[in-house]
């Protein structure tokens, strides 16, 4: 790598040629403020709009100020980041942004997490010198996401995320000049587009322009209703991230405290989605082995690979973009929905109450889960299997509202019977985890041998697309894994063109899997946080007594007492679903 010498604020350093002023400054501890800039190069998401102009600096010999986020350094470059000229420009740019921004910080969902608010605070902006017309747009409510474009600063991060990373292509800049804004095709409601509700736009939005629909008050109301039995289920990725909201280091697993908090919130039963994940594996692994055996026996009516179906954003994505492959995903419902179906049938029977008396609340790292819960096929006589789906962030707010001192809580255990899970259920929260869990079970069923080492390292990595093979007693099982819908698209295109030789593919929509979901605490551009969460998940798996789904005693009991066996008629009715071909526009 060619080197060059750069002087920034009087300090000279040698850096690789071609890196930006911002990157060079960071190396010597100079933090130039930015707003539109976002570099998530690990997931190939680099927002290089250079449009906010907050990061401008003075470069010797250059006529105007240079945006440090997109200006490459050159040998002998002299940069001043804090001259009066640069500071004045930055302050005015900020004031301009604020002059067209609602001053609703007190009631804004992003307050405290807003990057614009933080900059305004840092620059001690106490009065906005400019005033005039304000942008006014219709608020767009969908089952998962609220778009409030009055708060949009045109950083275009959402657009880059939606178009380049996820290849969903719903968001794009429209209109010109002062009226320009990020919008959907013909300004349709998000609900009427191909939006998958993956929530990654929300995860990167610097302001309150894109936020989740908050159902936390509905949860409080349900708990307060004496006529309802309120059950909560928590997804595996939640316990790996919730602690961040209370100041804990990323990667701190808070399962026990989370359970304690949920009990103190007043839920009647605190159960675990991980239990349902184990159940998912029972059904999905059976379905896979059934398809595989028929395929290997020359049955031309079966198509492989089987695609995992736990991620609702991914489901909506293929329904829109790959309707011709609609028979390929597993018909197994996602753990959230399996849990809801079992809670309102099997568990309702145990309690001897009608399903309508039960309210199922799910705590998810995900925004698409809100949408999934609202899908009509997951309702019985209008009563949904999952009534309310909230995010990790909403749960944190609930705990804070209820004056619960999270840090001093004891560690408590999930309730039985739907709270007991295996290590296989836990790793659902991380990319590669669903397929690893399935392999742990399928291997034993296929080969009839006991699996001694359950950790399939070849399936674990933070690469966006990866392939691995697992030896099933002489038979090489080819596995594809991807996270990010853009990566998924590549795998699906391979399948479509007939080039794929995979037997099974796992797809998750978010970076790093559910741990990087759109409902998790904001990572503010630091993907190390997501890696730390993955470590927490694997740590939890390692310390589980049982690590294979089919060994979960409560799962075995569920089949013995209620479902019969995997893929039985009752299982099909409760635990499997079907998909719908959807249009692109």
């Amino acid at each position: 790598m060619e080197k060059c010498k750069v002087t920034i604020d009087g300090k000279t350093i040698e850096v690789e040629k071609g890196i930006t002023i911002l990157e060079a400054a960071k190396k010597i501890g100079i933090k130039i403020p930015t707003l539109c800039h976002l570099d998530l190069h690990d997931i190939k998401m680099v927002n290089k709009a250079a449009s906010c102009r907050v990061c401008v600096v003075e470069v010797e010999g250059r006529k105007n100020l240079a945006p440090s986020c997109s200006t490459p350094v050159f040998d002998g470059m002299k940069v001043i980041t804090n001259s009066i000229r640069a500071l004045n420009a930055r302050k005015i740019v900020l004031e301009l942004l604020l002059s067209d921004h609602p001053k609703e910080c007190l009631t804004c969902a992003k307050s405290g997490e807003c990057e614009l608010q933080e900059l305004a605070e840092e620059f001690a902006i106490r009065k906005i010198e400019f005033e005039g017309e304000m942008s006014r747009y219709r608020k767009d409510y969908s089952p998962s996401i609220i778009r409030d474009m009055d708060k949009c600063v045109m950083c275009r991060r959402c657009e880059t995320m939606c178009n380049e990373v996820q290849t969903v292509g719903v968001l794009s800049g429209i209109n010109r000049g002062f009226n320009s804004v990020v919008a959907t095709f013909f300004e349709k409601n998000l609900e009427d587009t191909t939006c998958t509700y993956c929530g990654q736009c929300v995860a990167v939005c610097p302001t309150g322009a894109l936020t989740e629909v908050d159902y936390s008050w509905d949860v409080i109301n349900a708990i307060a209703n004496p006529n309802k039995i309120v059950i909560v289920q928590t997804a595996p990725a939640v316990r790996a991230a919730l602690g961040e909201e209370f100041g804990l280091e990323p990667g701190t697993s808070v399962t026990g405290k989370m359970v304690a908090a949920l009990k103190r919130l007043g839920f009647d039963y605190v159960f675990d989605t991980d239990f349902a994940a184990d159940l998912t594996i029972m059904e999905e692994a059976s379905e896979f082995l059934d398809r595989l055996t028929r395929f290997l026996n020359g049955d031309k009516s079966v198509r492989l690979p089987i695609l995992t179906s736990c991620c609702p954003a991914w489901i909506k994505f293929f329904e829109h973009h790959f309707p011709e492959l609609i028979d390929m995903p597993s018909t197994a419902k996602s753990p959230q929905q399996m849990f809801g179906a079992i809670a309102k049938s099997y568990f309702a029977d145990i309690l001897q109450v009608p399903r309508e008396k039960i309210v199922v609340v799910s705590v998810m790292p995900c925004l698409a889960k809100k949408y999934e819960a609202s899908r009509p096929e997951f309702k019985v006589n209008g009563n949904p299997d999952v009534d309310i789906s909230i995010t990790t962030r909403e749960l944190a707010r609930l705990i804070k509202q209820a004056n619960i001192d999270f840090m001093s809580l004891p560690e408590e255990d999930f309730d039985k019977p739907l709270g007991e899970s295996t290590g296989a259920g836990v790793i659902f929260g991380v990319t590669g985890g669903v397929i690893e869990a399935a392999v742990r079970t399928a291997y034993e069923w296929y080969t009839g041998k006991e699996l001694r080492d359950v950790e399939f390292r070849q399936l674990r990595s933070d690469e966006g697309i990866r392939t691995a093979s697992v030896n099933f007693g002489g038979f090489e099982l080819n596995i594809g894994i991807s996270y990010g819908l853009g990566n998924a698209r590549k795998l699906l295109e391979e399948i479509k063109s007939g080039k794929s030789n995979y037997h099974a593919i796992e797809i998750m929509a978010c970076p790093g899997g559910c741990i990087g979901g759109g409902g998790q605490p904001y990572h503010h551009g630091n993907l190390d946080i997501i890696r730390a969460r993955a470590r927490a998940i694997y740590h939890e798996d390692r310390h589980k007594e049982i690590r294979k789904s089919h060994k979960n005693p409560y799962i075995i009991e569920l089949y013995e007492k209620y479902l019969g066996k995997p893929l039985s008629e009752k299982s099909h009715k409760l635990l499997h679903t079907h998909y719908f071909k959807k249009v692109l526009y």
């Binding site: 105007n64 005015i92 400019f130 045109m154 800049g173 000049g177």
Partner: protein
């Protein structure tokens, strides 16, 4: 067949209203007299719009001005048949200070006839260039001192050299024909009047940088230019000037036309490239420059129409001929679209280094109605206003920049004593606010806020601190905006606030507009010494703001007055004045 005479009928701007009738009539009378060796050609602007419609007879070199369709019989019978000049219609051609290089063929040839172009040494430069080495061609352009005519004035040869030095399997030559300055039509005239000169310029560039593909990005609102250019491309292909193995040299090149939807910002080269790729027309940060990574991320050389039209002449006549014209750092000529409060509006081409005085008073014929010259806006909405003290400055890229304006693509709008300079700045800023792409904050929000501050000034609501804000904001926008559009948008404001500070102060301090242009600051007042009480004004006032008894002086109720000016225009006794 060869023609004895050509009868050129201007088909541009003002002349165009009559051109078809004039041309049809001439053809009719020629047929009636069974004359077949005279060709009637519709041509482009002669730069005499004010005197139009124009008919020119070649090779006699007689220009008729103010021709009406009914004059055509006389022109045919007297001039074309009997060879007598129709003296009453002859345009008196003062010794012109113009020098036509870019417009050399405009109005002199049939733009739809490739043979006409070849007759004027067309494609000779291409033949000559193809025998030179690629670097020699680039050196010739560098030596000529030609600079980009689109506005920025970047040395063309240097641009070509950057593109030449890039290693790539594919390079592109792009002709920027997205002319958008209000009132400017230089590029359109060249494309309509001499499309082959642009094609030839692009070919020479393609050869020099090693590209086989040219694209012309033009506005869909230029149907005639598109039609003529398409025809020219087709003809050039038929003659073997475009296609494979051009003139046996082994050089391949072809040209495709891309249509813009009329966004001003798409004249900015990176936005233009995005638009050609089918993306939203938004500029991107430079570097990377298009020469490194442009159209489909390939090295791309973008020049505008006028720049390309200069190239064949430079190759034909040599760089040393070209670089003797103009000033030390700006060589050759520049085409301007002269407009505003001036007697002779229209296209002119003048050598660099000419003074504004020569353009406005000699070529332009001075200010309309004998009024006083006040300012001239060069460079369109991106430029600035120059004043009387700048009249004798030789015009080139650098002097204009030093004076807070710019060459731009060549718009030149003259203002007289009646123009309010705050309103002028507001007018130009309104244009850039409308045409901003909305990508960067300083342009999207900053220019909007700047416009709103100017509105405060013109409505008498501004304070001195607002004037400070205007200055500071303008400078920050210049310093931080992403592309040329945003960076130059405050120029009209900054140049007027510098040159006409008193006018701004009058708006703020006295809440009055010295030129009487800012509607909200005008007051119509009846001079009681002059008013005879005829009641004419009372009858035209739409809001019943005027009262008074018959034969007694009247009064206007300022609270009711909407400043429509109806009373002012009606009064026969000059009793109503503006204040």
């Amino acid at each position: 067949m060869s023609y004895q005479r050509y009868c050129l009928v201007c088909n541009s701007s003002k002349c165009g209203h009559y051109s078809k009738a004039i041309a049809d009539n001439i053809k009719h009378y020629l047929r009636e007299n069974n004359i077949k060796d005279i060709k009637v050609v519709m041509t482009e602007c002669f730069g005499l719009c004010k005197q139009g419609p124009i008919v020119k007879i070649m090779p006699d070199n007689i220009v008729y001005s103010g021709v009406k369709p009914m004059d055509t019989k006389e022109i045919v019978e007297k001039h074309l048949i009997n060879g007598e000049v129709v003296s009453r219609l002859v345009h008196e051609n003062k010794k012109s200070k113009q020098l036509k290089i870019v417009l050399r063929n405009c109005g002199f040839i049939d733009p739809e006839n490739i043979d006409d172009y070849i007759e004027k040494d067309g494609y000779f430069a291409l033949a000559k260039a193809l025998k030179m080495s690629r670097m020699d061609v680039i050196n010739e352009i560098k030596l000529s001192g030609l600079r980009g005519r689109g506005g920025g004035g970047f040395p063309t040869g240097l641009k070509w050299e950057y593109a030449y030095k890039q290693n790539s399997d594919q390079k592109y030559v792009v002709c920027n024909a997205d002319e958008g300055d209000p009132g400017a039509f230089m590029d359109r005239s060249v494309l309509e009047g001499d499309p082959h000169s642009v094609i030839e310029g692009m070919l020479i560039c393609g050869y020099a940088i090693g590209s086989n593909k040219g694209l012309v990005y033009t506005r869909a609102e230029y149907p005639l230019a598109v039609k003529r250019l398409s025809k020219a491309i087709k003809d050039a292909r038929e003659y073997g000037f475009l296609g494979n193995n051009i003139m046996g040299s082994g050089f391949n090149f072809d040209i495709e036309i891309k249509y813009g939807a009329g966004a001003f910002v798409c004249g900015e080269e990176t936005a233009l490239i995005r638009s050609m790729e089918g993306e939203r027309g938004e500029p991107t940060s430079k570097p990377p420059y298009p020469a490194e990574s442009g159209y489909w991320d390939k090295p791309t050389n973008v020049n505008n129409v006028e720049t390309f039209a200069n190239v064949p002449v430079i190759i034909n006549k040599g760089a040393n001929w070209f670089n003797k014209i103009g000033t030390e750092k700006s060589k050759g000529t520049k085409v301007f679209a002269l407009a505003g409060k001036i007697n002779n509006v229209g296209l002119i081409e003048v050598p660099m280094g000419i003074t504004l005085r020569e353009i406005i008073f000699d070529i332009g014929g001075g200010i309309k109605d004998g009024k006083r010259f006040k300012a001239v806006q060069t460079g369109g909405p991106s430029g600035g206003c120059l004043t009387e003290k700048d009249l004798d400055t030789p015009i080139d890229y650098d002097t204009l920049l030093a004076k807070g304006s710019m060459m731009g693509s060549g718009g030149m709008i003259v203002m007289d004593e009646d123009d309010c300079m705050v309103a002028v700045a507001k007018f130009y800023l309104e244009f850039t606010v409308d045409e901003s792409c909305g990508k960067c904050t300083p342009c999207r929000v900053g220019n909007k806020r700047l416009y709103e501050l100017l509105e405060k000034v013109t409505s008498g609501k501004a304070t001195f601190s607002d004037l400070d804000k205007i200055k500071n904001l303008s400078n920050v926008i210049k310093d931080t905006a992403l592309c040329g559009l945003g960076q130059t948008a405050p120029n009209p404001v900054l140049s007027t606030i510098t040159n006409f500070w008193d006018e701004y102060v009058a708006h703020v301090n006295e809440k009055s507009c010295p030129s009487g242009q800012c509607k909200e600051l005008i007051r119509y007042i009846i001079d009681h010494n002059k008013c005879v009480g005829c009641t004419a004004c009372v009858r035209v006032c739409p809001v019943y703001a005027i009262s008074g008894k018959v034969r007694e002086p009247h009064t206007i109720d300022q609270d009711k007055c909407i400043k429509c000016g109806a009373c002012y225009n009606t009064c026969k006794f000059d009793a109503i004045y503006k204040k």
